[in-house]
């Protein structure tokens, strides 16, 4: 029983990590209808940039002879992500207004490979241990009192994800810019007619998703070091989105948790019968099943087409 509980908890925590990446997808999809394939690379890039700012073996240290304190490094990285967002709008999106979603999707695939290559050239491809002073190791309190093994870092990640979701939900539902974002997603022309500037909105939404990517990059980086396989986590976010719904912020979280718990539990309890490695494919099978039953996801908007 205790073992099951531990498995579920570790699944929940892994799910939070998936959810953080999925959140970035949802933001861009909600506001512009683009599935941003580059979201995982965004997280990687943010992690690499942050490492460079605060470590003593990066570019920044070489150029200036000192490393930034962590908090300043985070702000500087956010600046980098805003510049990236602006460049994406200026160099890519601006020229693809009113194009088919598939064309925009293709452009984000190009963006993903470009950013990955750029990250490699700028920062090198070795695994970098990111230490920004988040608590590591098991929580003594839970271990002593309940005999449960829970990583402190994962608890922090859960709290951060919860705060992010609340802030984003309020931002989307209750503010002018949030409304403008949703308006742009719905109808470009109508949005223009009420004085919303598409360019500004796009820069904002890509910056916000850059911020979410930064958070995801920090969390993953602290957990297992910043490595290029991080960009592959983007693929795990896909079943998360299918489960939660592409347009729902809470859906990304719930979807992430279900996938996280599902694959851990399946691995531990069903794994021995099929020779293990269930974790690698469980999420996709679950998503496939979901597509048959509820294609819009748990929280997605049901699309009604009138004929």
């Amino acid at each position: 029983m205790l073992f099951l509980l531990e498995t579920v908890i570790s699944g929940l925590m892994a799910g939070v990590m998936y959810a953080l990446v999925a959140l970035g997808f949802v933001l861009i999809f909600k506001a512009s209808g683009i599935f941003n394939f580059a979201q995982g690379v965004f997280a990687l890039f943010a992690g690499l940039a942050l490492y460079d700012f605060i470590a003593t073996d990066g570019w920044f240290y070489e150029l200036f002879g000192f490393a930034l304190p962590v908090w300043l490094g985070i702000i500087a990285t956010m600046g980098v992500m805003i510049i990236v967002a602006w460049l994406v709008e200026f160099l890519v999106l601006r020229h693809l207004v009113n194009q088919e979603p598939i064309i925009l999707f293709m452009s984000t695939i190009g963006l993903a490979y470009f950013l990955e290559g750029l990250g490699d050239i700028l920062f090198g491809s070795d695994v970098k241990p990111l230490d920004i002073g988040l608590p590591q190791g098991a929580s003594d309190y839970l271990l002593d009192n309940f005999n449960l093994y829970v990583e402190k870092l994962e608890v922090v990640a859960a709290v951060v994800a919860a705060v992010l979701v609340v802030v984003l939900a309020i931002f989307f539902q209750k503010t002018r810019i949030g409304r403008a974002l949703r308006a742009v997603a719905d109808d470009h022309q109508a949005a223009l007619s009420v004085g919303i500037s598409l360019r500004t909105i796009w820069v904002i939404v890509w910056s916000v998703s850059g911020f979410v990517a930064l958070v995801a990059g920090v969390m993953w980086g602290s957990k297992s070091g910043i490595q290029f396989s991080l960009s592959l986590i983007a693929l795990k976010a896909l079943p998360v989105l299918i489960l939660g719904g592409f347009t729902s912020v809470p859906g990304a979280i719930i979807g992430g948790l279900i996938i996280g718990v599902g694959e851990k539990v399946a691995e531990v309890f069903a794994g021995p019968y099929v020779g293990g490695a269930i974790e690698n494919w469980f999420a996709y099978v679950l998503a496939l099943g979901f597509l048959l039953i509820r294609p819009q996801g748990l929280f997605g908007e049901k699309i009604i087409e009138r004929v």
Binding site: A183, D187, V194
Partner: protein, 267 residues
Amino acid sequence: MAYERNIGDTILSVDQISLSFGGVKALSNISFAVREHEVFAIIGPNGAGKSSMLNCINGFYHPQEGTITFKGNTRRQVRPSEAARQGIARTFQNIALFNGMSTLDNIMTGRNTKMNKGIFWQALRFGPAEKEEMEHRAVVERVIDFLEIEAIRKTAVGTLPYGLQKRVELGRALAAEPDLLLLDEPMAGMNLEEKQDMCRFILDVNDEFGTTIVLIEHDMGVVMDISDRVVVLDYGKKLAEGTPDEVRTNQDVIDAYLGVSHDDEEA
């Protein structure tokens, strides 16, 4: 007109506008002037260039030649968001609402140009942004009262019947408190009762808020009833301009509408 209004000076003047798409001339050499507080109609057969004209005025299309002067600012090319900030609001021939959002939120987007608290406060919805949100909400509630759509305040607009969607779209335009309201076929596809309601709203807007209105409409009865002046387009050219009575008796206009060549057989 039955009620008294002060028709003022020219608020919008369109001078020698020409617009073409590739080899197709959508508009050639169109000029007219709209005066403050009047209801001005643009009519003409299908494909006459009426919607293109509205799109030029609010910046969706950029005419190759000619200028548009609004409130004393002369410009040829303007961005739609810029036009909105100058006080031009519009509705669309095919309803363009934000389907996923409620009626209230749709109309709130109309306040976009009037809200300017920074993104930092916005993100937290705190301090000045909270207060601002409340003020604008009050304006929006007045618009909702005015258009008698209180009951559907929280309904997602995608699920509303057509006539109500048109009304919500008008509400969104009104929420911007525009100086110039462009209506592209506000009554298309409506039944008689809905048309009467819409006419009443248009006249009330004009009367109570003094908003200048430029509208495109196919229902001649409606146009002749509610417009102060009318301009007639055909194949991108201006056929006539004047009061409804003048236009009604203009032979060119009659021909364009009835599609007959002007012979002497009736004389």
